[in-house]
Subunit: 182 residues, 2 copies
């Protein structure tokens, strides 16, 4: 019986940390289903969905303890389903935001979506200084699931209003082939 869980790990960036973590998983028969890993502010951070035979999880815990002992913060959270669609019949959209960085811009968009009952499936966002001017720029891509009853024109207009108020460009587009991201 396979068990799915989410692993998070944060700690010192060094060459070989991905090698070590994925090696531990492999030693326990684990497979990395989805991963997001990045060097952030001089540290290295990992987010992974892992599937592993139920009986091997105890062995993994031992290996993870050796990372904890070296200053890594590790969490594991049991997850039930891997591919299940949370909202069958909801329409998938991609939302893209570009512009000057503002404190609270992710929150502004997330709050708007939440109020309308739109579910956020994933978000990737970056802030970085512009190459020449050094002005902080912001870029975000989100995948969302829109409930069937919601009028597309109405919620897209609401996003545009946020864009003009915060002086960023916001685009929303239906995803025709939800598996195209792969």
């Amino acid at each position: 019986m396979q068990r799915n869980f989410i692993l998070t790990l944060t700690g010192p960036d060094r060459i070989g940390i991905v090698d070590e973590v994925t090696g531990l998983l492999l030693d326990c028969g684990g497979n990395v289903e989805t991963s997001r890993m990045a060097r952030l502010g001089g540290e290295f951070a990992i987010l992974m969905l892992v599937s592993m035979p139920e009986g091997r999880v105890a062995g993994l815990d031992e290996g993870l303890e050796s990372l904890t002992a070296r200053g890594y913060k590790v969490t594991t959270t049991r997850a039930e389903r891997t591919y299940a669609q949370a909202h069958p019949g909801w329409r998938p959209y991609r939302i893209e935001v570009h512009g000057a960085d503002h404190e609270g811009i992710v929150h502004e968009v997330a709050h708007f979506l939440s109020r309308l009952g739109i579910n956020i499936e994933s978000v990737d966002s970056e802030t970085a200084p512009a190459p020449t001017s050094g002005v902080p720029l912001f870029a975000m891509t989100a995948r969302v699931a829109v409930p069937p009853g919601l009028n597309a024109g109405a919620w897209e207009a609401g996003l545009e209003e946020i864009g003009s108020r915060m002086n960023v460009e916001i685009r929303a587009a239906a995803i025709e082939d939800p598996s195209a991201g792969l």
Copy 2:
């Protein structure tokens, strides 16, 4: 004085969780510098680099405790630098892997890079059943930093060897403009 830290959060997926977490940060004057968030196996997981005025961090801890009380696993890790380049003079490359899913494929690539002293800056990987056949497909994009002394032909040939052994397509290409990802 701004303080940078990495926040990880894993727990029940529900509409409004991104709204709530980013709202907590905003209430404490926090800015999301980089984020990776995704629904994974029915749970929702967040990885963020946040900057916040030093004196406001205690207030955030209180807010995070209310999430912990509702079953979310939360970690915060202090990070020193936001934009610092870890390896000045090293050459940035993008590595892409596509093919049938194999247990251990992320580890195979990570182990190879680690042995050569190549640093992994970021990884995004997905596994999903092919639309028609249902065969699990794997896709990975990694950004790496290659030390100046390393011969490009030699390490790229090594990746190709892994690709043919594991029956996946692997491509490596120099990133001409490292800020182009934004």
